[in-house]
Symmetry: C2
Subunit: 233 residues, 2 copies
DNA sequence: CCTCATTTATCGTCGTACCAAACTAATCGC
DNA sequence: GCGATTAGTTTGGTACGACGATAAATGAGG
């Protein structure tokens, strides 16, 4: 990449982090200490720190020591997010991403319908009840809406799924969280969630998938007409 | 993030890139020119360049001017890859990622079965034929194997899908591309591909999905026993 | 007009210095 | 004795200047 010196140091610190030599959550050693440790100038050390920060291995606030971040699925999503948010400045980019989300959830509801356990169904039901209870409060409704979908991402136990969900929510938030809401619309959405839940309960993957797709496509159409009405599809 | 000065410059250059003021593929202005333009020291400029490089907006080789890179789905995957590759040092991480791939392709084959056009089917058939023709040449077989699956990612027309496929292939390559291969195994894999193709041709999404899952799970089991035999599931 | 040597521009790295903010410890007042 | 205040130290953020090495530009020579 850039400089050879800084690169090898970057790699070595990266290695130290994943190897656990640098404890997660602890601050990185001082720059002057690192320059002694690596026998390099501060320029190089700072360059390595900058790169590691951008890569997601460090979290640095303006005047504080960088905090060590062990990489996980969530940081991977965050790293991708830095680029992805620039792809979402038109309806095309947003729709492309939204399609990925739809694709993802289609499998999740199918799997939920065929393989969800008792506790999974209970968590889903609880989320649905929360959703219903929040119909009158649009802000809280949005939160419970997200939470309901999130349950789907937690059923498999794969830690990557919730991270992916977080990514979707964050990236799509510019449109979805700013959507004009109403009690009527909240109620419609709740009914859609209920339909999905019912289909899962009935162990009917096809119906669940159909209910989900209907729900998400209606949601997209609403967003499209709200934010991208002027753009030609 | 890190420094306030460098940060605003980073953001502004980023903006210039996505706005097209800095043409894609062209080299970035010289550091001295930028320090004059932004009224900052070289230290700051270089820090901004480092950050942008790590973020994927610049490609810089050791002694050359950084090349401007417009972000796309592919660079987003690449950014995530920097973190993801550290999650793949054990069977757990690899399996988690592999599951995501399986999830993705399950929908792709379903959609192919229900909605693939004539040309899509032809491309799939061509890829299948290539695959069959390469059974005797394991290296070429691997390439045609990847190509066959890739066709599935291109059917929807969503540009994010091929980028995601590239990510999967790259991240999983350490295991899959190094797999001990044989004509027998190639032939088995070809038959699996053929079964998927047949099911798609028959417009049977359930059969296509089942064939795909069987194929991918067998593949995983082979990888697991080869690379992670010692680890306890 | 093309080739090769020389000059120049530019990057990679280093060192030093200064400021301001954060941290630490000693001091002061209760 | 203990909490609050203050002075000193550490550390990150930024700037300037310098030097070697290499890529790109330039000019000499055929």
């Amino acid at each position: 990449m850039s400089g050879r010196s800084a690169d090898s140091i970057t790699l070595d610190i990266e290695r130290s982090i994943v190897a656990g030599e640098l404890e997660e959550g602890r601050p990185l050693p001082a720059e002057r200490a690192l320059m002694e440790q690596y026998g390099a100038s501060r320029t190089v050390i700072r360059e390595a720190i900058t790169a590691l920060t951008a890569k997601g291995f460090l979290k640095s606030r303006p005047r504080y020591r960088p905090i060590v971040c062990r990489p996980d699925a969530s940081s991977a999503m965050q790293a991708a997010g830095g680029v992805i948010k620039h792809l979402l400045d038109n309806s095309r980019g947003v729709h492309d991403l939204y399609q990925v989300r739809v694709l993802f959830e289609r499998v999740l509801v199918r799997d939920a319908a065929t393989g969800a356990g008792k506790d999974d169904l209970k968590r889903l039901k609880d989320a649905l009840d929360d959703n219903q209870a929040a119909i009158g409060d649009s802000e809280r409704f949005y939160a419970t809406d997200v939470a309901f979908h999130r349950v789907l991402y937690t059923i498999s136990g794969n830690p990557a799924y919730p991270a992916i969900h977080t990514g979707f929510v964050e990236w799509l938030a510019p449109q979805w969280s700013r959507m004009p809401r109403s009690e009527q619309r909240n109620h419609d959405n709740f009914l859609a969630h209920q339909a999905i839940y019912e289909a899962i309960l009935m162990r009917d993957p096809d119906a669940a998938e159909r209910a989900l797709v209907d729900h998400l496509e209606a949601s997209w159409e609403f967003v499209r007409s709200t934010f991208f009405a002027g753009e030609n599809e």
